[in-house]
Amino acid sequence: MTHDSPQAPLLVVRNLTLVHRATTGSTPILRDVSLSLQRGEILGVIGESGAGKSSLGNAILGLLSPDFERTTGTILFNGKPLDGNNERQWDTIRGRRISAIFQDHTASLDPLMAIGPQLEETILATNDTMSRRQARDHAIQLLTRVGIPDIDQRYHHYPHQFSGGQRQRAVIAIALAGRPDIIIADEPTSALDATVQKQILYLLRELVEETNVSIILVTHDMGVVSEITDSVIVMRHGEIVEQGPTSSLLDAPQRTYTRSLLAAVPRLRVSNPGERKERTKHLNDPPLHVGSMEPGTRPILVARGITKSFSGGVFALLRTRPQTPALQDVCVQLDRGMITGIVGESGSGKSTIGRIIAGLETAGDGKIEIDDTCFDPSRSGSRSGLLGKVQMIFQDPAMSLNPRMSISESLRESVRYGAAIAKDELSIVGTMMDRLGLARSLLPRYPHQLSGGQKQRVCIARALLAGPSIIVADEPTSALDVSVQAEIVQLLRENVRERGISMLFISHDLALVQELCSSIYIFKDGRVEDAGSSEFIFTHSQNPYTRSLIDARPRRFTH
């Protein structure tokens, strides 16, 4: 980037401190935050939940809820101070000079107004001289620029008729409508699939180069920061921990916290392309027996021809419950004592297969064999003998524990009603707490009194205490902060290995799966798209979808 006048930054935030009115005396939301933004610069603001990074964005936009109070500090835009309460001033700033992109593309658009008109009204509101006709032409031009195809025909289509990526593109077009100087982008790609994420990030980069707009990119994802930002601010508990140019901060972080954030990002190991080109034998025929590391041992679980469809028989008309993604002829096998991974984007059916294997959902058709016991997954009562043998660890630890049962009650219930019959519940629970690094003093507490990481540890303890032979872990770390994720994964791996439990690890994160799993299934649109040993998938597979998933990873965290 070329900075013509580095002496006169576009935006300066000086010593900004924000407090929450209702809780005076508690720690501020933001404390003494200072930053400056140059024209044409992409500034990343990274931090975990509660770091205050979104409040910083809202303060710059003048969109803080009235509960917040700016106690000290100034925000200078083009050298002029922005007053948080002066609505008349904001009318000339918002949309025209400073604009925004939010995380949730679905919620950002009015569901009852077509995409074209939503952009058109923004253009009219932010350009005083434009006629309706011109606005429409400009809207079509902008939508085409951000990469929405056939916009002439789709101008009057509603948001729900576009895909997630296209909706976020439309949101970007709206943000650009007033030709702003700054765009605040709050987690602009977090709600998107990995392959789409990268495209959107590159779109933003291109737009910066074309229009010389500046972007403040608020995110929790080091990968996003490493891809497109020029400089970074690392935040924690409302304070700036470290700031500097992206490359130097990522290469040589000064603070321990930054270092731990960087260390927590899972890294993908991919051999260089020349090496992987030779072996193409599995291209069209992903093998069922994908990676039995120890030949001779029988797999602990074999699922064959699992099919689940949307349509629902006689009661379809009367049905009131939501449907899960469909599956088509899915075959999965779990090697005894090993960790098998399932990777896929949202809607690929990866969670559905996990739930069917655990017996929480029925399948339309297929056969499942666990420990040589065969049963029919289409009948809900067919597996009563296996209860307790398969346990699950869920994505959201906040909802995985009964809020009205103490930790002790939850864990003791697991011992009492699990597959392993034990006599001394309390001492077993205590030992497990020690093993998972949980203080025994947490036992009488209730779930809401625990942190996210602690809750997930309790969930792991509950699953282990039931004495399962299989654990299905469905995105067990994606609801946790990055710094906690690594510990949880480590803990899970050790404990499963120690006890000889086989695990099915479901994730959208390739690097994590590579680190953990001996064999991997890639799911797409309810089918197994690619499968093989970890080595095969990452080194030899020529499946274009697998390759696009690998390529979607931030380069910096791929070796």
Binding site: A22, T320, L360, V390, M392, Q395, S400, N402, P403
Partner: protein
């Protein structure tokens, strides 16, 4: 941390318990309980009534030494006393029917959510249709079908109200059953009763509690309306609604007090219940206290 939680809890409940509607409601209940002791006369004992003092305006001092604070009705009964006695009937009918309706609705709703399939379909279709008809229509159909009598009125109100509880509880229970902690419970060898009563019910019941005061208010109003129309409680057990109806014919001749005061008492009762209900809902609704976290 614990002390802090207790303090916010205390703050929250203190704000509710000293509220004016709460006091008013408590007063109503006390007055109803003590009616025979504090009412100036028993308006349904012919020996205590003096027909020649009929339609006396408020503040009249009667010949037998009665002070008719709120006047007398067309038969010479003290209005204040008829209000106190009517209050008893109104409260007994509405509280009984609310409790029964809540129990039935609760059971039906949780069963529909837990068992699913045809149980769910059958129960929820009845509920849907019933809730799509106006309450007064359902009540009228029920009354026409059931016939008169105090037990029939209670039954009619139960028929009107159970569906609301069932729908609400079923909705909550259904969203709870989709949560992972219930999935985790299902993966163990828990007996059905434990899943239902230890996991599902305790987590579904709290939001449904907020319905009870709202529905109690509806029950009082519904009973009064039916009684006013002459389809409610029998004449020998007049509720507030029937007392108002008695006074209606005297309204045109300017004897407003015969219907105005019982109506005012009824309005005060329903309003205090509704305000208490509003308070309970606000205190239990997690959305309205999200800032506590």
């Amino acid at each position: 941390m614990k002390a802090n939680t207790l303090r916010t809890l205390w703050k929250r409940h203190r704000g509710m318990s000293i509220s004016l509607p709460g006091l008013l409601l408590a007063a109503y209940v006390l007055l109803a309980l003590a009616a025979p002791l504090i009412a100036p006369q028993n308006p349904y004992d012919p020996l205590q009534i003096y027909g020649w003092e009929a339609s006396s305006p408020p503040g009249t001092i009667g010949g037998a030494g009665y002070f008719y604070l709120l006047g007398t009705d067309g038969l010479g009964r003290d209005i204040l006393s008829t209000i106190l006695y009517g209050l008893r009937i109104s409260l007994v009918v509405s509280i009984t029917s609310t409790v029964i309706a809540a129990l039935i609705g609760l059971t039906a709703g949780v069963s529909a959510a837990h068992f699913g399939r045809w149980v769910d379909v059958v129960i929820m279709r009845i509920v849907d249709l019933q809730l799509s008809l106006p309450t007064i229509l359902v009540a009228l159909i029920a009354i026409v079908t059931l016939g008169p009598g105090i037990d029939r009125i209670i039954l009619a109100i139960v028929i009107v109200q159970w569906a609301t509880y069932a729908r609400v509880i079923r909705g909550i229970a259904l969203s709870e059953s989709g949560k992972p902690y219930l999935d985790a419970a299902r993966l163990m060898r828990l007996p059905t009763w434990r899943v239902l009563f230890r996991h599902l019910l305790p987590n579904s019941i709290a939001p449904a509690i907020t319905l009870i005061p709202i529905e109690l208010g509806h029950a009082v109003a519904l009973e009064a309306t039916l009684s006013f129309l002459g389809l409610g409680v029998p004449v020998d057990k007049p509720s507030l609604g029937s007392t108002v109806a008695n006074g209606f014919q005297y309204l045109m001749t300017g004897q407003y007090w015969i219907s105005l005061f019982p109506g005012l008492a009824l309005f005060g009762l329903i309003a205090s219940i509704n305000f208490v209900g509003e308070g309970v809902r606000r205190n239990l609704d997690p959305r309205s206290r999200s800032h506590d976290a």
